[in-house]
Symmetry: C2
Subunit: 196 residues, 2 copies
């Protein structure tokens, strides 16, 4: 497709997006240049602005444009509870429930030894420093219930317990609205063990 | 995910890419800001440059940075044959075969009445003007073999034949390397009718 250098550069740049291969990138470039040049300009500006403005909250590491994010600054929130999540998207999911009024710590990743992502890369030391502020009484681990998320929760929990902090994990169990017949066995076994 | 305005703008802008929904856009934004800020900057620059530099060839309508593209300017090419394709990607596929040494006309789209894309939108008049230059002897229709591509070929061919131009269509038949057992019936029927 790329008879022109600008087009070739654009296709190469689009391929750096996760989940976008050569054909998708060519289709995106064609769409933008043929049907949505305004969209291309808007995306160009949004990328430049986000790279310039978005940084990490000094307290919880989530994305923010200020030194400290709005959640961390909110005096209404319960500073004795700290919820550890993998990404801002996970934090947003928890916020949407309206069931948690404490503070967060966003790891911005998960342990993944196969990808060379170890404890230092997900800022475990920063989490320990944050949790030792003397106010936090309970750390709630809300990493994903995948193999990598569970490994992350295990490592984080070991480190926090050495510091004498109370550590809890989101409950494993049967999802709301599901029929037992169609729930996987591991989930049912966990729900049985953790019955209350 | 979007606690910050720049991030929200970026996610909205990414959603304008074809095939990218809310979750993909959030994942892309997270990836770029967390793991590939260089990539985000490169993409921002590539978009701005492409929007500014890339325009359509005055003769064949493909993407180019010059007034007329390199293929149209190539004196080695056979100007008596004009191949009509839907997109620059289709043109690139034909070029890779090395089997065509004529010139192209790129419609930059296809007829799609359901999407409100009629003959005027794919520049049929410009194609007629181009084909009536007195040099072109044969117009080869290489639009896709989809319902929309076939409809486009039909309309284009009717218009060109009214002008007394010789119009041909790429052969329909059994793909190279395929086993008849697994080829769809319509293709086999066409291959039988067009046997040679």
């Amino acid at each position: 497709m790329a008879a022109t250098q600008s087009l070739e550069l654009l296709i190469q740049a689009l391929r750096r997006l996760p989940g976008v291969g050569a054909k998708s990138a060519a289709r995106m470039a064609f769409h933008l240049l043929q049907h949505d040049r305004d969209g291309a300009q808007a995306l160009s500006r949004a990328l430049a602005q986000a790279v310039e403005q978005v940084r990490h909250c000094a307290r919880c590491h989530t994305f923010t444009e200020a030194e400290v994010c709005a959640v961390c600054l909110d005096p209404e929130r319960d500073a004795t509870r700290l919820c550890v999540v993998e990404t801002p998207a996970d934090q947003a999911a928890l916020e949407r429930t309206g069931a948690f009024r404490g503070l967060y710590f966003v790891l911005m990743g998960r342990l993944s030894p196969l990808d060379g992502i170890g404890p230092a890369d997900i800022g475990i030391q920063a989490l320990l420093d944050r949790a030792r502020d003397g106010v936090v009484q309970e750390v709630i681990l809300a990493t994903n219930f995948t193999a990598e998320g569970e490994a992350t929760a295990h490592v984080v929990s070991e480190a926090l317990r050495r510091d004498g902090l109370a550590v809890t994990r989101l409950a494993r169990g049967v999802p709301v609205g599901s029929e037992l017949e169609f729930v996987d066995l591991g989930t049912i076994a966990h729900a049985l063990a953790d019955r209350r």
